[in-house]
């Protein structure tokens, strides 16, 4: 956990760490985008590229005993919360050496030692779970919190509304992070979310809300600081709507016919949280050199992870019926 108070600006160590995490997520996803084309990666995969500042801006505040609950687009949340990057890559390749022994896959990565309670392939599945974890936080009385990541599309799922109301009623420390990347699958948020925005809904459920630029790490980090102060202070839940975009399709293979032709290109130029971060990095006392070194580190880590994952053994067939109560 940070030694700074939740509301103070991040130290340069933390900023470097945040940059490393964002860069790791980016390279992880960019690499997956390439590797998926080899056909070696099973299933379907949703990439987080473009939204890195949200996961990292939120999770940089959290300790190992704080919880997060994630979505189908969960790689970024996992990395931000500290999950082992190689273990994730192995999992996505479906290897015995994966974080979940290859039994979960891209949409079901969890790491309980890191307070990462699981990605979730059911849209809207996570927020109620986060409220439950927040009950545990409250009952322990140790100031820990529970964070629910949810997409703009998931904000139309009844479970998400129920979770917000329940958190307000029980006044438990749940922080709802609504990542508005403009789309749910092939449908735009302006169509699917009937109201003006998502933030207004959360407010109507009775909790404080902030709406932030999700491509600006500093903005997310600052808002999360205030959210955390609120939740840790025993004042109940808090919501953040963070606006960003995804640089790839809904899943790998999506032809994105719903997007204007040059949209992604323009967004990569103007909404890239990594470029944006770098733009003010020196002002904040970080050196270009340090950042470059991180970039190199990260690339090496991803290379290693992929190389190892490709060689790693699949789960033994006996795994088919372990880790589940079975008897017939």
């Amino acid at each position: 956990m940070s030694t700074e108070t939740v509301e103070s600006p991040p130290s340069s160590e933390r900023l470097l760490e945040a940059y490393r995490k964002m860069r790791t997520i980016r390279e992880f996803e960019e690499r997956l985008h390439v590797e998926i084309q080899t056909g070696e990666i099973p299933g379907f995969t949703h990439l987080y590229s473009g939204q890195e500042a949200i996961a990292v801006g939120v999770c940089e505040h959290l300790g190992l005993n704080d919880y997060i609950v994630s979505t189908h687009r969960g790689h970024g949340h996992c990395i931000a919360k500290g999950c082992d990057v190689a273990g994730m890559m192995h999992e996505i390749y479906g290897r015995a050496t994966g974080l979940c022994k290859g039994k979960g896959g891209s949409m079901h990565i969890a790491d309980f030692s890191k307070g990462m309670l699981g990605a979730n392939a059911i849209v809207g599945g996570g927020p109620p779970i986060a409220v439950g974890a927040a009950i545990a936080c409250r009952n322990r009385g140790d100031g820990t919190v529970s964070v629910a990541f949810a997409g703009d599309g998931s904000c139309n799922q009844g479970t998400v509304f129920e979770a917000m109301n329940l958190a307000v009623v029980l006044k438990v420390p749940t922080i709802f992070i609504y990542e508005n990347n403009g789309y749910s699958e092939h449908t735009g948020v302006d169509y699917a979310v009937g109201s003006k925005d998502i933030a207004g809904r959360a407010a109507a459920f009775g909790m404080p809300v902030e709406k932030v630029d999700g491509t600006d790490f500093h903005a997310v980090y600052a808002a999360m600081g205030r959210a955390l102060a609120h939740a840790r202070g025993g004042h109940g839940p808090f919501a953040i709507e963070a606006i960003a975009t995804r640089f790839y399709g809904h899943f790998e293979g999506d032809p994105q016919l719903y997007r204007a032709k040059d949209e992604v290109k323009r967004q990569r130029e103007s909404m890239d949280c990594l470029s944006i971060f770098r733009r003010t990095a020196t002002q904040r006392g970080l050196s270009e050199h340090d950042l470059d070194a991180i970039d190199a580190d990260v690339l090496a880590l991803i290379d290693r992870s992929v190389a190892e994952a490709r060689q790693a053994p699949p789960p033994a067939e006996s795994e088919l019926t372990t880790d589940v109560y079975v008897a017939y």
Binding site: A110, G118, I135, A136, S146, L166, Y325
Partner: protein, 336 residues
């Protein structure tokens, strides 16, 4: 040892284990009741069926949690609390409400341990009041347990009496897997001998309620009571039966059933559910596959009809398998 209703027996188990284990919480609609009311009286309810009575005053509102009408959030919160180290007991009230909460039961709770490679468990108990017999209509009278028995990762408990209910609940509260604990509404007031102290009944161990020679009768929950009546009736004609109460449908104690069928050669299964993909069908299938050589006659299956539960008294009575229908099924397998 004292005479207790099944209602009190389950309540007893909750009291005992909550005192023993501070990680147990109870949540659901009106599990205490009275929150936000004008009388200022909490514990205005103690659960619509009174199963959670007395818990709030003893354990406080951090552990006995009244919720809004949001079953997905209730079950989801139980799932999340379980991942985070608590042992939640969620009351779904009527079993029929799995309709509005199934995802959190069958895609979440049930699958966590497996999907996450065994790196976690999900020790949550969901309590569901089930069954017909009180004219509550099509949406408040279903048995539901077949549906949840079909789901890998869930344990499913279907007690037929107060003694078993207490012992099985204590087991549920100490296990590491999600447990669907079905309580038949018509059994709540039925009394039986129940020890005051601590005891557990293992899952997957059937009770041999009666011993006999000619027919094996397997019956679930309230149907155990009806089967006993049927068995009494045929005994007058010298037909004696093994009566097996599986107590849990998942895990199912198939061995006890197979052993009995090996002796009797005849099997009748009684399930209050509609027939298709029922637990009756499930048991019949397993015996037809693994105990086929023991069978001397077609398997007798007694279930509700394949229709929703009707409201009118006369119709609902005809819907629920009766002692008479069970008796007829026993006589029929004896004739073949």
């Amino acid at each position: 040892m004292s005479q207790k209703s099944m209602r009190d027996a389950i309540n007893d188990a909750l009291h005992l284990e909550m005192a023993r284990n501070p990680n147990i919480i109870v949540l659901g609609e009106d599990v205490s009741g009275g929150a936000g009311g004008t009388s200022g009286q909490r514990e205005a309810s103690g659960g619509i069926f009174g199963i959670t009575k007395g818990l709030l005053p003893k354990f406080g509102d951090h552990r006995v949690i009244d919720t809004p009408i949001s079953e997905s959030a209730i079950i989801g919160a139980a799932a999340g609390a379980a991942l985070a180290g608590l042992r939640p007991v969620a009351e779904l009230m009527f079993a029929d409400f799995v309709g509005v909460s199934l995802d959190q039961i069958f895609n979440q709770m049930a699958k966590f341990r497996y999907m996450f490679g065994g790196r976690t468990t999900c020790p949550a108990v969901v309590r569901l009041a089930m069954g017909a017999g009180m004219n509550m209509g099509a949406q408040h009278s279903q048995t539901i347990y077949p549906l949840l028995t079909s789901v890998p990762g869930l344990k499913v408990v279907v007690p037929s009496n107060a003694y078993d209910a207490k012992g099985l609940m204590l087991t549920a509260l100490r296990g590491d897997d999600p447990v669907m604990f079905f309580e038949h509404k018509a059994l709540y007031p039925r009394k039986g001998e129940v020890p005051d102290g601590d005891y557990t009944i293992p899952f997957g161990e059937a009770a041999l309620v009666r011993e006999g020679e000619h027919v094996t009768v397997v019956a679930i929950a309230r149907m155990v009571v009806f089967a006993e009546k049927a068995i009494d009736a045929v005994e007058k004609d010298g037909i004696t039966c093994d009566l097996i109460d599986p107590r849990t449908t998942s895990p199912l104690d198939l061995d006890t059933i197979l052993e009995s069928v090996e002796n009797t050669g005849r099997l009748v299964i009684v399930d209050e559910s509609p027939p298709r993909c029922s637990v009756a069908a499930d048991i019949a299938a397993q015996v037809a596959s693994q105990g086929f050589r023991f069978l001397k006659a077609p398997i007798g299956i007694v279930t509700a009809p394949h229709s929703p539960v009707p409201f009118a008294r006369e119709l609902e009575r005809a819907y629920v398998p009766s002692p008479q229908r069970i008796e007829a099924a026993i006589r029929k397998v004896m004739q073949e």
